[in-house]
Symmetry: C2
Subunit: 418 residues, 2 copies
């Protein structure tokens, strides 16, 4: 069987399973999730042994230490997977929720019902825990899933898939509700992202390069997260204490995350007040600072920022700083260079906060809060499958609701249209 | 200037205009719409003269009578455009609407704000009135628009565009908020649907062939409406009076519309009761009937349906009829052959109606109502840009809300994440 045929068969089975999962009741889906957790818990030795093969292959191939770290399954990693399954089981079921029911002049009653998307394809890189996270969120939201992990995690993912299947079986849900692509052939991805007859949406998780390649070639709609070039703008009417606390937290809480601030914008009138104190904090934490010309007049010992800095997601202990003349300049900088992920203003001024909220075109826009809050757990979604920087369907952290859609329902009593 | 350069420049201008339109206040947008109506009303002679050129070219090229009919602008058509602009001006502005604001444990307050999509590209065929409809809905929802009409309507569309520009100017909105592509080169479409830097969404309006071509080649997300293969299922527990009234209305109200029923499904136990009476109605209206084998036993004089009939959108006075054994068979037929547009069940049974609502995977699912209601005006959306048979972003009739998205907003008081 060719890879194409293999993928088509996988797609067909997923499509068939999807109509069963879509109308499975909440209890059955939750049972499946809990039984998956039990299966993972009982298969620790098998999982760790399968993972050992991947780790050995990875070392032989010369994978970097951080990549090997992300690939590793140990008891702690299994504990986390078990807990996350139990958490997803505890979340409310979004499917079937009906909203906005109202009577119309014609006599019909119109509303919207929340429904699964159908079949979701997830393409991801080395972390095997994504297999569990993605499968559980897609199942809970009533979707069938096709998972394509990285080739370096193939043994781990296959072992995890066996536990997922066991859970599905025990809850009498079709095993095809969650399928793992068990070939490392790259052609499988090319098929997955173009099988519009079987796949309703693709969610890629990984580096920007992977996501750009997939979006470029996909025929199936993609929910994607490209990068996180987040800004904090300190207005001249900012409360200095809040400004310093937030600018510190947004940059230094964690460096490698997409909601970390990459560029700090400061109003010219407050630059002398906040920048020296902030710079001292950053330098004490070994953050490299790169400033615009005006910033260099205030902070004399730092490097100059180049045009490229404004559009760079460092994901590292580096911060670019720009002094702007007013709110309009800050908003223009953000709408030009931001990746439409998360941007914040620090101000006590009511009118400026409203303007910022309205005019900044990003998936999360904040006033007097750290960009670090842009996260599915912090937003109370319970879990997230990713953060969308797209403009349609779902923006920002995507939880169970983002994996569903709404259809119209009409209840009548024999009405016809004149 | 090459077509590519021309389109890139158009896109860049649209993008720039979009940020101004996005934060224009409701009054300003409504003024623009009303001034467009005034301009159209005052330019009747110019519009009709420009249209005469298109009609003459169309006749010379041998366009069919219905196509020439759709292309024609007369006083009545101008009246309709004027009225539709006034109606859109009277609709509530969706932009900036805030929902679901709530405090979270961290102290931040989280909600969602409705925002425009940005730049919308509309690709359509011969009807010049689409120019006004699409431009007005996109403007009201805060988006910039690039309109690419059919080459056969180029003079009409350019004349309408001049009125639109006048309206925009008088309301002090950028003229680039609505741009009409003024070249008939097909390369313009190829550019428009791949300019992901400038265009946020494409809405094609026209025949299935056009829409399939565009979806296939587009890199920009597409909201599309492929076809309307709509079903009515008459259950054995249907109220016969309602069943006959609805099955008649769904098929014969208008034949050429996407929400017309194309296949009637009838439970075997009620077929003898309803089919002869229904057939008499259909035949009196010259509707051709095509039946499955079992139907032919009840209605002896009609043609046999072939496999192809079940997946055909007739858009004509033709109806295929199938007798099914139970609800499950009806749902399976619908989920196999329906175009996921609109499907209805006629039943008095509570449990079966719930099952049908839940399991039928279409953008509108109805109980005891005619499929003819699937329409933006009937649904109270005020107007519609089209009916989406897609599963993400917007399903069913798409009004102003479907032309917007929601971003997260966070209001804080200096909160940082631990």
């Amino acid at each position: 069987m060719s890879v194409d045929q293999y993928m088509q068969a996988l797609g067909e089975r997923a499509k068939r399973a999807s109509s069963i999962v879509a109308s499975a009741d909440s209890n059955q889906k939750n049972q499946a999730l809990k039984q998956m957790a039990v299966a993972l818990d009982e298969s620790r030795a098998t999982l760790i042994a399968a993972n050992a093969k991947d780790l050995a292959n990875g070392k032989a191939k010369g994978l970097s230490a951080p990549m090997l770290d992300r690939l590793t399954i140990n008891d702690e990693a299994i504990d986390k997977m078990v807990t996350s399954l139990e958490q997803v089981a505890a979340l409310p079921d979004p499917v079937g929720g009906i909203s906005d029911m109202r009577f119309l002049d014609s006599g019909i009653q119109l509303g919207k019902m929340r429904v699964p998307l159908g079949v979701i394809g997830i393409i991801y890189e080395s972390r095997p825990n994504v297999t569990v996270e993605a499968a559980s969120l897609c199942l809970k939201s009533g979707n069938a899933t096709i998972l394509r992990g990285g080739s370096e995690a193939i043994h781990s993912n296959t072992a995890i898939a066996a536990c997922i299947s066991k859970g599905l079986e025990q809850a009498q849900l079709p095993a095809d509700s969650v399928q793992v692509v068990e070939t490392v052939d790259r052609e499988a991805v090319a098929q997955l992202i173009t099988m519009t007859d079987y796949v309703d949406i693709i969610i890629p998780r990984g580096g920007k390069g992977l996501i750009e390649r997939i979006s470029n070639d996909a025929k199936v709609p993609v929910i994607k997260h490209l990068d996180g070039i987040c800004h904090v703008y300190i207005d001249d009417e900012a409360d200095v204490v809040k400004a310093i606390k937030i600018a510190d937290n947004a940059k230094t809480r964690r460096y490698g995350v997409c909601n970390a601030m990459e560029t700090l914008l400061v109003h010219a009138d407050i630059a002398e007040t906040v920048l020296p104190e902030l710079a001292a904090i950053y330098l004490s934490k070994n953050v490299e600072l790169r400033g615009c010309e005006k910033t260099l007049e205030v902070l004399k010992d730092i490097n100059a920022a180049t045009e490229e800095d404004w559009s760079t997601e460092y994901l590292a202990a580096i911060l670019s700083i720009k002094i702007v003349d007013d709110l309009a300049a800050a908003i223009e900088h953000i709408n030009t260079y931001s990746s439409a992920h998360t941007d914040a203003i620090i101000t006590e001024n009511y009118t400026k906060s409203r303007k910022f909220l309205r005019q900044v075109d990003s998936s999360s826009v904040m006033v007097n809060a750290s960009t670090a809050f842009a996260d599915g757990f912090e937003y109370g979604l319970g879990a997230e499958i990713g953060i969308s920087t797209d403009k349609i369907h779902a923006r920002g952290p995507v939880g169970l609701e983002g994996l569903t859609s709404q259809k119209y329902i009409v209840l009548g009593d024999g009405e016809v249209r004149s």
